[in-house]
């Protein structure tokens, strides 16, 4: 369980959070390095969504800290965290269905570093996901599931973030669409400064695209290793990853 060699774009230390009497996260340490995809795996209810929501300030942390580079973001408001370069694609996607595709992207590009060059930022998204370019004037509610996932990932990337948090992007998508999206993601990350934290229940596909993996169970980290090692560990796979 060696920490990633590069400096972390996102460093989560001892994070604890929950809902009322429920403790959903219990002292979790996770880092995400630039140019890497870090998969966060675990069964339903393991605390994966809570981890992302606590990182982006939607759920208050009870203890622990969240740093982006050198900036301490613990306890900051979600909009401030977003402006600090952490983009979060929530579970269930979060498409603003009554806006057009382009308006959704513009909304993402308005944020932070892309300000003033929204058009090029949007064009970059279209280059990455050509199907969106064809539908730019359409209302977002007309998109298919895979297109919606492209839209929200593209929207999150349009502001040029340092960290991308993805919550179950494969949910409800056909395997072919999932691997297509994961491949595009891989290409985008390779050689860039972007750090991706990819939450998935679908461990097999996630490990196939990720560099590193972290396994959560009942709010605690039970394993943290290069993706290939995790995929090769039969006991771990059977106990926590379900394949």
């Amino acid at each position: 369980m060696s920490p990633p060699a590069t400096t972390a774009a996102l460093r989560v230390t001892g994070l604890t959070a929950g809902y009322g009497p429920v403790t959903a996260l219990d002292g979790v340490d996770v880092t995400a390095g630039p140019g890497r995809i870090t998969a966060v795996l675990g069964a339903n209810g393991a605390g994966k969504t809570t981890l992302l929501r606590t990182v982006s300030g939607l759920v208050p942390a009870r203890s622990g800290s969240v740093h982006a580079g050198d900036v301490d973001l613990t306890g900051a408001a979600p909009e401030r965290i977003a402006r600090a370069g952490i983009a979060h694609v929530p579970e269930g996607r979060g498409v603003v269905t009554e806006l057009t595709v382009e308006e959704n992207l513009r909304l993402g590009a308005l944020l932070g570093k892309a300000r003033g060059r929204t058009d090029t930022a949007i064009d970059d998204v279209y280059a990455m996901f050509p199907p969106l370019a064809e539908r730019r004037r359409r209302d977002a509610h007309t998109l298919s599931g895979g297109e919606r996932q492209m839209l929200v990932i593209g929207r999150a990337l349009a502001c040029g973030p340092d960290v991308l948090l993805l919550d179950e992007p494969s949910l409800g998508l056909a395997p072919r669409v999932v691997s297509q999206i994961f491949e595009l993601l891989r290409e985008r990350v390779e050689g860039s400064r972007l750090a991706v934290l990819l939450v998935e229940q679908n461990a097999r596909s996630a490990l196939s695209v990720a560099d590193l993996g972290v396994v959560l169970n009942l709010g605690r980290v039970v394993a943290s290793a290069p993706a290939a090692e995790l995929a090769a560990d039969d006991a771990l796979r059977h106990a926590y990853l379900g394949f």
Partner: protein, 292 residues
Amino acid sequence: MLQFVNTLLTGLGQGAVYAAFALALVLIWRATRVVNFAQGAMAAFTTYLALLVVESTGSWWVGLLTALAAGLVLGAGVERVVVRRVGPHNELGAVIVTLGLFVALQALAAILFGAQFRSFPAPAGLEGFALGSVTIALTPSMLITVGAVAVVLLGLVALFRFTDVGLRMRASAFDGEVARLLGVPVGRMLTLGWALAALVGSLAGVLIAGGSLVWPAYMDTVIVNGFVAAVLGGLDSPGGAVVGGLAMGVILALVTGYVGSDLVPLAALAVLVAVLLVRPQGLFARTAARRV
């Protein structure tokens, strides 16, 4: 025939005002899922301010601008001080709070400005235009009313369509959490939404008052008619609110002209019940799933 045409014209003139009022309700509903029952009392309040200004400056237009500015401030203040503190997922609490504002503001208007009837000047003439030998019920004041509503409508459309702040407001209203994750200061957008809505409501208040009488409760029937118009259009749809408002204006003008003005509120109730029973999502709603 002439009577029918005149009734229609009067109805459309009134309808423009209902449209503005319904639009104010829709803006707030979309932003905060609250039907602002205080909208009428807020508009009555700012109309009294306008009346003070009109009486001291002699200019109807300065009065109108005063009302609009006061509406902005009042709307923002109400959202910041009261509505925001109700918290989410408290439908009943939100309804009750706006009702509290309704009575409190109405009573405050009576205390500050008096409870008696006062006449509010018209923006322009109240004589109908003559077409050859007949005089139709289209007056210069009505043209100003319709024109003012149209200008505000187009302004709102431009704001929401073409500006960054409009885009942020739409996203905040649609899904506050997603908007925050995209760095939008949702709280400020909601305040702005209430402020703009109150501005539009104030416009309706001054336009209704023009050439007629004001008293603290003069907006009570307008609240109902505006609400019915908004529901008719599907509470979520600004375009629907405008069409609903015009339709209500015409329907109620027909009832006034051919049945009797006492029964106008009853007609509004009948329209509301009919819409809610037959097509609760409104005539123009795009999404069928709506909690009623």
